[in-house]
Subunit: 223 residues, 2 copies
């Protein structure tokens, strides 16, 4: 079938375009012309189409009738909606981890929290965000639920995009975020499932407000 | 770009294949041969590929290296994982509806519950399941969160598949399900957000057990 080869090329194209959207290189509402991507990357039209479908499923672009693919526009209600569903899934994921961690899996969770703590004061927002998602990845293996893995992985690029925007505007934020990870990890270690939703919700709310503040700044007009 | 035309053909192919999987016509692990679908439906290979990607994102098939597309296998842990994420999202959706319904939107919610109640005793499992999803669709417009809409819409075919299996085995189940919808609706009308998670979880648990019982029956070997 050659399906895998095609899919993995599409994944590479999707990752390239996702990165340009996340870094703010491609702006809300900007058209992504299929033909241009084809010629810029010397790839087939079919793989570009598949890449665009992947980006659509990851909430980074919209595919509009007659206009084709455009970068998804960040709006206040869109960002609030995104964080609402993200917090909902993340809380439940953390609860699963709290229920299921073992002496075998705990060290990799702790190691990843350690990486986050090490990056807190370093003002490398991208590395910091990646480390946070790294913790989520370890959590996926502990929770062992492929649906949470897929749904949260699909939301991750859109969260990455908004959070990168927030960190470009709020440089000191990483130490606040680190407190959250530490607090969440403590609840997980104590298997305190009841405490988790409030911890995640409080932080999600905070992160969402940061994004909205960044969005409202004049320099963010072209985000 | 012709994108939409292609996508809507892919959607039609996906809907056709989804229906065959949901009705138990195509079984767990059965290969879906791209070339065969191309010739049976007289459509292009490209649209079949897009349809298969859609079915993968809806959890009905897996696309495996070297084997191509196969119908997703229903396993106990897979079903439990599916219901876990479904209950999590559905609870939150119901809470949003409880917060947001208005005098304008309430009648359409009540009308849909009425449709469900009317079907409870009629032993038309498919119509009953469709009516339940119809209520979810009304809930989407009230909750007004495109992420919940997309994630739950993507989970819906897999839930439909497992629930259809359960209803083929537990004919009297629809009246129990109707009690759940009535109870949930009462909590929504009273804007009793705190009561909702337990109601949804109890029912999700029950539905999940029905599916697992059906799966364990010898006649379900080829599901």
């Amino acid at each position: 079938m050659g399906f895998t080869a095609v899919e993995s090329l599409a994944e590479q194209i999707a990752a390239h375009l996702a990165d340009r959207i996340i870094q703010g290189d491609l702006h809300s509402g900007e058209r992504i012309q299929e033909a241009r991507v084809v010629s810029e990357l010397s790839v087939s039209r079919g793989s570009v189409r598949e890449a665009l479908l992947l980006l659509e499923s990851r909430h980074l672009i919209d595919i509009l009738p007659r206009r084709g693919a455009v970068v998804a526009t960040l709006t206040e209600s869109g960002v609030r909606s995104l964080y609402d569903v993200y917090v909902t899934l993340l809380s439940r994921l953390a609860q699963k981890v709290a229920e299921r961690w073992s002496d075998e899996s705990l060290p990799s969770l702790l190691a990843q929290v350690h990486v986050i703590q090490g990056l807190a004061e370093q003002r490398q927002p991208n590395a910091f965000i990646e480390a946070g998602f790294g913790l989520m990845k370890v959590a996926f293996t502990v929770a062992d639920n492929p649906y949470f893995t897929q749904l949260l992985s699909d939301l991750q690029p859109a969260i990455h995009r908004t959070y990168a925007l927030a960190l470009r505007h709020s440089v000191g934020e990483t130490s606040h975020a680190t407190q959250f990870f530490t607090e969440l990890m403590n609840a997980v270690i104590q298997r305190d499932c009841a405490a988790i939703p409030a911890v995640v919700e409080r932080y999600g709310q905070h992160q969402c407000e940061l994004v909205l503040t960044a969005l409202a700044e004049p320099s963010a007009l072209h985000v």
